[in-house]
Symmetry: C2
Subunit: 615 residues, 2 copies
């Protein structure tokens, strides 16, 4: 039954041999690898507006300069990543590049940064997508959290099924987004040219803060989220048709130019046309679209394209995060389950972990993109910096043609992204960046602890020092906890007697008098010939505590070098929901027995006798 | 370790003998039983304002008439419940009264209605409390969900510890709330008398809807949430000092008068002083308080008292819901676990179920009280109506002194609450009442299904028809799944050989070649003398599937009337968090084995051999 639901939701298992490797031409590779970077325009724009609007018209006149600064940063980072593509044509993630060139700790720092930015990318993209559609349909506004969680659920199921970065499917939202926005920018420029600049003084709300250098830096830091996702192409070089490096580099250039146009175009028009919105009712991009196209069908198309491209952008984390987690887990720094391919050839555990973390963020920050943004850029820029620094070391070691120029490009990248990281960390510290700044060292420590644990285990499981043949064990003593006299107990007692002559039944008395009643029935059915029945009182109404005490006592009394085995009669209801109708005493007892440590390092076997109910 | 955290959070276990029954004088009983009813004033007020403000000044002039109608309804319901107190001095909940007098289905309908209203009381009270405090501190507004969930968590922990309806502690918020509001109403009347009425035309926003009969009924229905919680005193008669019925009746009268003053006073003043607020920024009660006292210390005191009394009101569900669930569970209509007293003498399962359901509602409705309200009143008024109808039948059967008058009072109560229920159900259907209207029959069906299941079980477990002595079983065949050659496997093999001479080890090969490697090591260590090793391939990378197939095959081949027992070597890490670092194959296998049904009704034993790791 459960398996049927599972198969319906995520499909039947796939054999290992069906794992294939799709290769894409440049048009489709751009669609597969760029949505994260392109969609960043949506929230980066919003952040620049929110950062400056508090200073009124005087503040908003800085939009263009800030956008140009960020576009220059984008160009430098993009050129630096071209060097990564040249050096690692098999795909160089920040974790691998930093680990290989700088050592394991810098690698783990990059991994920690990437982890936070993958999770935040999902939360930010989904909440921003919901904001885009709720701008068009204001009655959806109060349900933003629920809508974002619903999208998260759908994406998680799709990815557990094994949605590939199928270039063809991705092309629709990506090119729809790029096309409609280019159209809007073109038409916006036409309006701007025919009508001339509008006055921000006339539309902007009154300033509630002065324009200060801090305000500008703070807004610049918020706008830097536009760069998140730029590294995707350098991670995915292997999906390009050969010659991979050349095609990847050309696609990277195309993406950078497209991003630049979308970003500068929308920010520039917003300022030139003096567009203003009420931030608690709609996004600034929605405002710009209404300003150019009115509220008709084109407006709805653009808002839908924005939602779609943001969902696709969130999806890139579903590809990247499980892959990163599996690399880190293979190196022994994360739970090993994260490196197992599920039966749909997907790193299912990584997918579910990502969904859980992103869901938590969405709920905790009330589905509000603006509150999430300060946490976002720190991780991404940390990974940028580590990876660029790693590349500098790479060129110094490996040299090769043009290595001086290449190492200069990556040094520039390191410096610029490092400086941006510093600006982001300082100017957005109190807004929430502090959370990530404390989290990253904590993550690195956790990675190390996990690694140590796996080392310890390996030592404890070795057979070195064991005698060459098995030393035999005596016949087990068996303790059978019973809740009354019924068929399940009879079956359990039969099994117990088939493996041992030493069986004791135990009844924990919670209701006074129930012990005497059970003993009478036990004797009526002649069960005392097969096993004596012991009645144990329970003043605290717990079954587990008195049973554990009884086990300790009987082990002490026998003192025969073994711990009594516990045999548990269990019912298995016919339908899964009926399990909820039964007290999970057997389960609680198993947990307690498994996790209670015995000093002597002896083993207590737990034997389950499941009795299947017919209806 | 886990037990220590648990004890720190909810305290050590308490013996059954320490269960005590606290009795309260009228002053403290009022504080213990009335917060739910009194706090309703906060959100009922808000709902009347939100219902009418869409019709501008013309709409808001109806506030007072609607409030008077609701106050009259309150008086009738309160008088009807006095009859319940007289008839059931041992405490008559709606479930018991309806079940005893009308039969089991009407009883279950009342229980279903109560269930929904208990859960909604928590969600509505907490979100309304957070709105009260966020009105005072606007920066908290975006974190309303997180704050409400935090309060929910704290209350759940306090109730798992076993917070009693301790009259003394409850008195502080309840009398602080009543006192400060009476003070505000008194001062408000003074302002009103000295300044005369203010003009709603001057302050109200323009009408966006006309005043229609539907708008008035719709607002009346929303305002009826003021009555939720009125029945609490009639449920809790036993906590009064003797003579219980007389004291309870006097307290009921005092509570009704106090509610009436608070409700009519605040609604009346809001209209007379023409107070208006922006609903997305503050509550109407916050607006009224600012209008009378300004935004100083008295304002903060009143907002804090509102939050506190709403938290205490939410807490009444933590008393009522687990108690109701335990009554219904004792009758076999809900999972039996809900009737077990936990080790802190609290119905812990009921407490956690309530918290889970309320948490879901808070997240789903975005922490927005206004969206939750339409779901609230249906359940409460359904329970009112069933209970009043039950009382009519009670008087007809039992008669006694004054029975004609008493049955008249309860008939009036049935009619009036029934009519209000109809108005609420119809006028708020599309706003969300439909959810509850569909949910209630579904709940009743579920109650019946659960009851049938327990009947079925009883029949299947009976010993009737069993032979008088145990038929012996043959020596078990044992299958030992192994993941490699290590100490855990050696220990498991030793145990297997102590209970059977027929042991087979199975290795599931996921990585090609790992099977041959394991076989070599198996033979190197001479383990093939104790058990042959079988290698099973796994094309889908699953461990569980191939093992289940192997078990079926070996059972078929042996055909000896038994199913092979499965013996599972398991590691138990030294610290609980390390469990997360290990693949839960043994757990998955146990689940699969337990839930896979065998036609022949034979039993497959599952034997766990836990090996405790030292660090």
């Amino acid at each position: 039954m459960l398996r049927e639901i599972r198969e319906w939701l995520i499909g039947p298992p796939l054999p290992t041999t069906s794992a294939s490797h799709e290769r894409l031409d440049k048009i489709r590779a751009l669609a597969a690898l760029s949505p994260d970077a392109l969609a960043s325009v949506a929230y980066a724009n919003q952040e620049i507006f929110l950062g400056l609007v508090v200073a009124g018209a005087a503040g908003l006149t800085y939009s263009w300069s800030i956008a140009v600064a960020i576009a220059m940063l984008l160009a430098i980072v993009s050129l630096s990543y071209s060097q990564v593509i040249n050096a690692y044509p098999t795909g160089g993630g920040s974790y691998s590049v930093a680990k290989e060139n700088l050592g394991s700790t810098p690698g783990l720092v990059a991994a920690a940064g990437l982890t936070t930015s993958y999770v935040l990318n999902v939360a930010v993209s989904l909440t921003a997508g919901v904001a885009a559609i709720a701008s068009a349909f204001p009655s959806l506004w109060p349900y933003r959290i629920t809508l974002a969680l619903l999208l998260l659920l759908l994406m998680t199921l799709a990815n557990l099924r094994g949605l590939r970065e199928s270039g063809t499917v991705m092309s629709v939202p990506v090119y729809l987004f790029a096309g409609t926005y280019l159209l809007m920018i073109g038409y916006g420029i036409y309006i701007a040219l025919t009508q001339g600049p509008a006055s921000l003084q006339a539309t902007a709300p009154p300033a509630i803060e002065p324009v200060t250098p801090f305000l500008i830096l703070h807004t610049f830091a918020a706008g830097c989220t536009a760069l998140t996702g730029v590294e995707a192409i350098s991670n995915g070089v292997t999906i390009f048709n050969p010659p991979e490096a050349k095609n990847a580099n050309q696609t990277m250039a195309a993406m950078t130019i497209l991003m630049g146009i979308l970003f500068l175009g929308t920010v520039g028009l917003t300022q030139y046309l003096a567009v203003i919105v009420l931030p608690e009712k709609e996004t600034i991009l929605s405002g710009l679209t209404r300003h150019t196209f009115g509220s008709g069908i084109l407006y709805l198309l653009i808002q839908s394209a924005t939602l779609l491209v943001l969902v696709v952008a969130a999806n890139t984390s579903y590809v990247g995060f499980p892959r990163l987690a599996s690399l880190v887990a293979q190196d022994g720094y994360l739970p090993r389950q994260l490196s197992f391919l599920g039966d749909r050839l997907v790193f299912s555990n990584g997918v579910m972990l990502l969904a859980g973390l992103a869901g938590f963020l969405i709920i905790f920050f009330g589905g509000n993109t603006h509150l999430l943004i300060p946490l976002f850029a720190v991780g991404a820029f940390l990974a940028f910096t580590m990876s660029q620094a790693g590349m500098v070391v790479h060129w110094l070691h490996n040299q090769g043609s043009n290595w001086l120029f290449k190492s200069f490009m990556n040094s520039l990248g390191t410096l610029v992204t490092g400086a941006a990281l510093l600006i982001i960390a300082v100017s957005r510290f109190v807004d929430g960046a502090w959370i990530v700044i404390f989290l990253i060292p904590l993550l690195v420590l956790t990675f190390r602890m996990i690694h140590n644990h796996y080392d310890d285990i390996r030592q404890q499981l070795t057979l070195r020092g064991l005698p060459p043949s098995l030393t035999p064990l005596p016949e087990p003593r068996i303790v059978l906890p019973v809740s009354g006299v019924h068929r399940g107990v009879i079956e359990a007692l039969r099994y117990a007697r088939s493996i041992s002559d030493n069986v004791t039944a135990v009844f924990v008395e919670i209701e006074p008098g129930s012990g005497e009643f059970t003993r009478k029935r036990w004797e009526e059915w002649g069960l005392d010939h097969d096993a004596p029945l012991v009645i144990v009182p329970s003043p605290y109404r717990s079954v587990v505590g008195p049973l554990l005490d009884f086990l300790d006592k009987t082990d002490r009394e026998h003192n025969d070098g073994q711990l009594a085995s516990v045999l548990l009669p269990e019912f298995v209801p016919a339908r899964w929901w009926q399990t909820l109708l039964h007290n999970q005493t057997a389960m609680a007892l198993k947990l307690a027995l498994t996790y209670r440590r015995k000093k002597a390092n002896k083993i207590r076997a737990i034997i389950d006798i499941p009795m299947h109910l017919r209806k």
